[in-house]
Symmetry: C2
């Protein structure tokens, strides 16, 4: 029997250990820095494959329980083989999954029970940007719509505050500094 079984849980989260993690990060903010990493290989035509093996947290490198692998493709309409979701869809997943599970996580820390939470998300792109057909068209998402359906012991205001405070909501809401290096074989 592990600690998680003995400790109190809310929404499936071990809230006693959660409080210890929060106390540690408040006391030593340098331990709160997390670095996620991926390697992505082009697999022919419109396909690519990413691996997530390690990440850095609390000042040290950790291995995932297993190497997680995800692949992406494009639909036939864009000359792909539609074997996997598109990169643009993975971005919507990253955003929706983060908003959804992080909201539930922070509800647990506040003693708020969540019974169910579902997100419907959609976003618009102009493929002329994707295909470099116009310099006047932005290639990125023009707008993203997010609808939450939540059954929880909380007000709409509390859920909205938690949802809009999540890492991926803030990643999409603000420009992210990116450093790109190109190394030719």
């Amino acid at each position: 029997m592990n600690n998680a079984t003995l400790n109190k849980t809310t929404n499936g989260i071990d809230t006693e250990t959660q409080q210890k993690i929060m106390d540690m990060m408040t006391g030593q903010p340098e331990l709160a820095i997390v670095t996620f990493k991926a390697s992505n290989d082009w697999k022919g035509a419109t396909r690519s494959r990413s691996e997530f093996k390690t990440f850095t947290a609390a000042g040290q490198e950790h291995n995932h329980a297993q190497t997680h692998v995800v692949e992406s493709d494009l639909p036939n309409a864009f000359l792909g083989s539609d074997q996997n979701a598109t990169p643009g869809e993975y971005a919507l997943h990253a955003l929706a999954a983060c908003m959804n599970s992080t909201m539930v996580y922070n509800c647990a820390a506040r003693g708020i029970t969540v019974r169910s939470s579902r997100v419907r998300i959609s976003g618009d792109l102009d493929a002329r940007g994707f295909m470099r057909l116009s310099d006047e068209v932005s290639a990125g998402y023009k707008q993203i719509r997010i609808k939450f359906y939540v059954d929880a012991d909380a007000s709409e205001e509390v859920i909205r505050d938690l949802v809009e405070g999540t890492p991926m909501f803030n990643t999409f809401a603000h420009p992210v500094p990116m450093a790109v290096s190109i190394n030719m074989a």
Copy 2:
């Protein structure tokens, strides 16, 4: 034998059909709008699951060849069960996969052969934002580093221009307008 087999290909892309799609979008820009959609359900504790069933392109709704499903989790260090990659890692995948395969796609349109392309990507988050421990800490990615290793008949400058023109690079580089609605059961 389908058209893709009869037509000329570069990097696995049917460049004759690609040119027709580009001509269509230049002539009728309204057909270039693409809407991606997902539904995401919280699956207990730190887990959630997204489904991608349909998307809108060229003015009509399309079904994916099959419904694509992806799941996310958190590592044990964040009280998850580490069964899948984290939302933050999926965001890195979306970005790297888009930059990688879209660059290859646009190389094909220019007659540039790409033999291999690999991306190493990493990004830093402050988990005090994730856990709502400080209003002064931004919850989103503070910085993302992207290293390309490309074997192609092109200069570094051409590859950089294509990579930095991609949909997800521009999504992360600029603020995305987002409309959030919260519906309580």
